[in-house]
Amino acid sequence: MDSEAQQAAAAMERYCQGDPAAFHQLYALLAPRVLAYLRGLLGDRAAAEDALQLTFLKVHEARATYLRGANPIPWIYTIAHRTSLDEIRKRKRSRVRLSSHGTPGGPDSEPTARITGVAADQHPDPAERHDASNAAAGALAALAELPENQRQALLLTKVHGRSIAEAAMITGSTQGAIKQRAHRAYVTLRRLLGKGDDGVGAGAGTPAGSTEAKPPPRKEMA
């Protein structure tokens, strides 16, 4: 365990013993990255903040299932992941199509609006993305276009520094699937950002048998 994991484990242990200060220490340590992970999955900050609160509430309710001495970081990420999946499902169920004249898709079709819970400014037109002055906004929009499982793998391994094994545990997947999804996500992301996939092949994936996430090839953003 690295020092951060040890710090989190110590705080979690005191938290389970009923020390409120330990909870706040754990929250200060992990909430920023859990929030960022949720934002990457959900798209908008408001939904991510709600999911963050729900995640820590679930952690609080499930604290008796914690194993003393274990690293709580992947566990908390797993709970956040589950919370985000629930939120995404809720959104899919509540997606509403509004129409004003005719059958969708036909010549007389109505203009259709889809309420997805994601802010419009976070889904800029792909054609306009090259013109975006803010690389972060472009990256977020490109991220939103990735399939859900690829987005999860990319965020966990490339942005949040989780190992392949941890990412597999957090998503309830296999290490092979995580490696493949992270690689595909990285290739797709670069294509969406207009950088092609040259030089990505060998470097972006993680060698078979390795349990550590490897950094993608070093190329600057366009």
Binding site: A31, P32, H60, Y66, S173
Partner: protein, 240 residues
């Protein structure tokens, strides 16, 4: 967190998702829960597996003691009897442990790893049944001697495997529901495979039919079916 990497793409993604942005303060509901919290007894790493094994092993133990053993047991080579029993027991232990016991330093069992171990255990048991089944000519029974078709004999054994697996599955799914927020189907597959392996272990001593086809279809097939049932039930209960 980029763990020290300064790659441009990662930085952009980290910035985009607000990795360095401060989080909001805990919500009032959460803050209240923290203020009013009491110390809790955390679980033991082997607690769930011990509870599930204890609950699930009652019926197999009763079956082994009270049901008549196969009549060819004494006529079969003892090393083979022991090796086959050890294999079924190992498949049970490995699958159940993988499904319910986290690795040292982890809080949760790794569902993906558990499913891989369970599938490997099933393949090993299937290979053993296919290539190393032994019978005692003249002593081992054929389904026809009992007036059964081979299919009926297989279905009978599959039914017994499910009977043996029922308590394991119920207790194990209860434990998984509490422990595993994601990857339920994979963990359920391992749990079902473990439960089926215990059925196969008991059948190894009580099933009078020794043909390779019967062992593969009725015993290993039963294990595969309980694994499938475990995956489906866990997926329904844990939802992913």
């Amino acid at each position: 967190m980029t763990t020290g990497r300064d790659d441009g793409d990662e930085r952009a993604l980290a910035d985009a998702t607000g990795l360095s942005a401060p989080p909001p303060a805990p919500a009032p509901e959460l803050a209240r829960a923290i203020e009013n919290m009491r110390p809790v007894r955390t679980r033991h790493r082997f607690g769930a597996v011990a509870a599930v094994a204890l609950a699930g092993l009652v019926w197999p133990a009763i079956a082994l003691v009270h049901l008549p053993h196969r009549r060819d047991l004494g006529a079969l080579p003892l090393p083979w009897v022991i090796a086959a029993a050890a294999l079924w027991a190992a498949a049970f232990t490995a699958s159940l442990t993988a499904a319910l016991v986290p690795r040292r330093g982890d809080v949760l069992p790794a569902a993906g790893r558990a499913s891989r171990i369970a599938i490997a255990a099933m393949l090993i048991v299937a290979a053993f049944a296919l290539f190393a089944s032994v019978d005692a000519p003249g002593v081992s029974m054929q389904p026809e001697q009992r007036g059964w078709s081979p299919l009926r004999a297989c279905l009978h054994c599959i039914g017994f495997v499910f009977e043996t697996a029922a308590v394991f599955l119920a207790a194990g799914l209860f434990a998984l529901r509490r422990l595993v927020p994601v990857g339920g189907a994979r963990a359920g597959l391992a749990l079902g495979a473990a439960a089926g392996a215990m059925g196969g272990f008991v059948l190894h001593f009580i099933c009078p039919f020794a043909s390779t086809a019967h062992i593969v279809l009725g015993h290993v097939g039963g294990m595969a079916l309980t694994a499938g049932a475990g995956a489906l039930l866990a997926a329904a209960i844990i939802r992913r």
